[in-house]
Symmetry: C2
């Protein structure tokens, strides 16, 4: 294949399978001439779609499998019975170095389970995280963990900070991204000891490959106060979905407001250029893709219900991560951090229980 | 005083003190002719404002104190040194039955500390909660806890469900409000054991004074999927602030989009009636006020930076709660629940650790 960067696609994942994955790959192929694809799935469904698209000519290798992982399969089922499935094979291609990144719109829990099973942890990390790109009034930020796990120890939160900073460096081209710990504003509130411990450690540590900016609150995320927001996965997932829900809610209100009277309708028609600009900013397809971080390989989870444009965003994200050598850089950062822990150069506060649980 | 429902106001709380509290009381006094006020604070600042407002004539009793609790005071300082302060005296008036509810725009942590100190817990509840009113595309919902505590056991989450349902009944006039537990969507994810336990208990319990609707996710809140959303305070506070931040962010984008071109500006001018309707819906002053639940008396926390209109919303909220006898009803609900626990009629799952912490 001509492309120098090979992306493994789980062609059967998501609500639509190849009907979204193949056109998504085509959009991404135009944007990035150096990409080619390994597509895993039912050849009878994939090949006709690939062959009718001249933009994909010579850039796709199909690996046939009829096995798939259902959208409602449990992670444990994916591990026990998923071998040979399109999702499994895509991750295996990453493990074996045949692809630089795997992209799937399949079941999140299954993908995370197979990511953990098939790819080794980087350095001494205890847990992977899922990072989401969050559009802000300034630009974009990263928020992690948005749901790989519930709860995190102070040490795990520090790992997330390092991983998020590494991703921000690759994605946003920032030499020293700013990192904040998500917390609640109430002073002296009981609990969240792990967040406080992580704060003390990050504040005191020397030689971090990012700027630690202290605590941030929920309303700081959308303001783009920091490049990377670190939080355990229960609250992180709730924050992400709450923001998505609020955007949808305001979209509904806005449509209602603009169709409430003839004058409003006419005004909205005149202002349609403005509304289009707003719609682009709020388009969830623009920032589709959760990045799995912490293990020895890259995997991107696309929304299951997205269309070709959204799936192309997830591929683009994978391309950005892979072409910047994110995994190698993360390994170096994490090794330095864990090495400092072992030699006691930077002693972290004693590890507490997890934030959640 | 003529009013049959007396509201205690911490006149010194918030960023502006009496300059917002007194005009706020005036707005609320017009809406509710049966209200009168006990205002605690510096008489020299309060009296001139009251006397120049004919709508407050004969409806305000001022209790002078020069002591205040600073906006940045720690809860422990409020407890040690807050006796005699405007906030303390307002809550004391509730404890002694001289007022039906206390409203303060002061320091949240201090108010919660004094609420716990001065008012006894209802029944066997272990922890109070702060409930927020959340505007949705359907109507309004309640979300609790939004920050009284970090973490909650399954038993505490069940208490929150009962308290939220009681408040929804009083505020929204619903005989059987629907209640959901906020959770993350990923199946079989580790942790959140307390949420799962609470879910099992609520699903199996008989005779609950509400409709248990199962799990909800962050994006369901703004859709108004349930009347009451139950969550521990760390994730609840982050969800609330994230939604506020997202609304502000989209407001910024909308303004930018409508001033991007002459045509958009003109269209926005024509559609200004629609934009005003939207602005009203998104106005944070409309739903200002966190309700403290779980102890033997009502307290409402107003945003510290709000104006008279926002403070009036907080007073209105207190009025609604008090005039519906919320505390008495909550006591009955909680007694029935805890009684069932003791006699083993409805055995809850064994209590786990807290969700957060």
């Amino acid at each position: 294949m001509p492309g120098s960067l090979i992306i493994a696609l789980d062609a059967m994942g998501g609500d639509f399978g190849p009907e979204v994955v193949v056109p998504g790959a085509s959009i991404s192929a135009i944007r990035h001439p150096q990409i080619s694809f390994l597509m895993f799935g039912d050849e009878a469904r994939i090949r006709p779609l690939v062959e009718k698209d001249p933009k994909l000519a010579g850039r796709v290798e199909i690996v046939h499998t009829t096995q798939t992982i259902a959208m409602d399969a449990k992670p444990s089922q994916a591990i026990r019975r998923g071998k040979g499935s399109s999702m499994w094979l895509a991750l295996e291609a990453v493990r074996e170095g045949r692809a630089a990144v795997a992209v799937s719109a399949g079941n999140t829990g299954a993908l995370m389970a197979l990511y953990r099973l098939l790819l080794k942890p980087l350095g001494d990390i205890e847990r992977p995280a899922i990072a989401a790109i969050w559009p802000t009034v300034r630009a974009e930020s990263l928020v992690l963990d948005v749901g790989a796990n519930i709860g995190a120890t102070s040490r795990q939160l520090c790992d997330f900070a390092l991983m998020g900073a590494g991703m921000a460096r690759a994605l946003f081209h920032l030499e020293r991204p700013t990192v904040g710990l998500l917390n609640v504003g109430v002073e002296e509130i009981k609990g969240a000891e792990e967040v406080k411990e992580a704060h003390l450690w990050l504040k005191g540590a020397s030689g971090l490959p990012f700027e630690y900016a202290g605590y941030v609150e929920g309303d700081d995320i959308g303001q783009g106060k920091v490049d990377v927001v670190v939080v355990e996965g229960f609250a992180g997932n709730i924050a992400l979905k709450t923001a998505e829900g609020t955007a949808r809610q305001i979209g509904t209100w806005l449509r209602e407001a603009m169709t409430g009277s003839v004058l409003s309708k006419f005004g909205a028609l005149l202002a349609q250029g403005g509304f289009r600009a707003l719609k682009r900013k709020m388009d969830p397809r623009r920032v589709n893709g959760g990045t799995f971080l912490g293990h020895n390989g890259l995997a991107i989870k696309s929304h299951g219900g997205t269309d070709a444009l959204g799936f192309a965003s997830a591929i683009d994200l994978g391309y950005d991560m892979a072409s910047h050598g994110l995994v190698e850089r993360l390994r170096a950062d994490l090794d330095a951090f864990h090495g400092a822990l072992r030699t006691g150069v930077d002693q972290p506060p004693e590890a507490g229980g997890a934030v959640g649980n």
